[in-house]
Amino acid sequence: MSETLAAGRRGGGRSRNSSAAIEDTVSAWFVREILPLEPFLMGYLQRNWRNASEIADLRQEIYARVFDAAREQIPDDPRRFLTVTARNLLINMLRHDRIVPIEAVADLDALNIPEDAAGPDRVAAARNELRRLQVALDKLPPRIREAMTLAYIEELSVREIAARMGITKSTVSIHLTKGIHALAEVIDGTGSDKP
């Protein structure tokens, strides 16, 4: 039997009234404790998984498993919990691959948990992030860049952007969605300037 990733996942059917508070609490915890560990998680996956094209999918699956578990109980040590969840998933994946590359499993067992690299200079980090955003903005396709600039720097409304660019509001929305997606992926999400 193959392990399906959706197995045991909680989903629809829950009443919002009874569960909204739990969702909010877990969401707040997840954003605060887990998401900032993304550079660490990505480093772990890159070291331990060969197929780079699957890493983003694995990351999201690990996030979902962590979130599901946190609904039952919020883990005490987010970094350790994230690492263990990642390791278990990778091991299961390897098992279902039938041919188990032994060195890969050995490597997985070496739980490599570096200490959090504290970013003492937040002001500088924030400035670096701004620079990175600016570079990413410059790399966007011209029309998307223009819409993003008008929206985020000039702070124009969608209607004003449409008028300025001579396009419809729905086209502005499409540009903005693409622009937000592109920039959101270049931000490292921790506020620090590590790649």
Partner: protein
Amino acid sequence: MSGLKEALSASPRSDIDARAVEFIQRRRFQRWTDADQRDLDVWLDENTLNRVAFLRLEMRAERIERLADLRPPRRSVIVALPRFHFPFQSIIAAAAVSLIVVLGVAARQYFTKPVDHVYSTDVGGHATLRFADRTEIELNTNTVIRYRMTTTERTVWLEKGEAYFRVAHNASNPFTVIAGSHKVTDLGTEFLVRRNADGAPNRLEVALVKGSAELSSEGPRAQVTTLVPGDEAIATPISISFSRKTAQQLADELSWRRGVLAFRNTRLADVVAAFNRYNDTKLVVADPSIADMKFSAEVPTSDYEDFLHFAETVQNLRVDREGRTILLSRAQAHKGRSM
């Protein structure tokens, strides 16, 4: 491997991400109705993969707001914004951001304009103000705020005390909290602001729970800082320094919203100060040698009697009542621990 491929082909990550960003874009830039919110809630509840994708991209999208820093300075423009305003169109649902701001005080008074409204709570009071744009302000004990909430300006001055803000983000009408020479600007934010009448002059403490907000100070050493989740910033007229707060510490700081005080290895001097914020009867540490004793407890804000009983019977402290003042000192019994 087959398991992963099957599962992912059923709901490919890239589609989930695209859908999440679509929601984020619409909420940020379009008219956002209750029906839209329901659609989003249904989608989030469908699958945890949807929810984690949304939370991740939402947090990252908020950081794009940093681009506003590239705008040339325009202080004078704030007075008259020559913009179109579509009062309800541009209102964005409160982004999921939480921020705590704690402030010690006595800063200079800001000029008051006739359009401003003032709202206050007494010692032990607790009130929530709800505005048309869905912004909510929850006032803790002994708090005074002044506010100007219009379609072109949303500014709150914290004159005294502590308030929790749940801000409906609107890029064309930023929300600002001013306390002394410090200013917190939301980038899609929920936050708490505290200002103690007996605190250090013009000292501001900001702890961000979630999302992002900007802290700035005026004056000769002006600086602007973007806060990330877990940051606690302490701003004085000459510096801004940072420390990290755990989830537990942040929850404790917000415990007043549940009507309780949370102490975890808290110094007696701080315990007493906390009770005194909520009660007219004032506790006083009469003996400096006990000020550093540590206490852990979670008690209703008005229930200092329980605490006194505990201090007296378990910690062997002496409790003397003099009218509305209660003095705490070391009991004379020689069996008391020496510190």
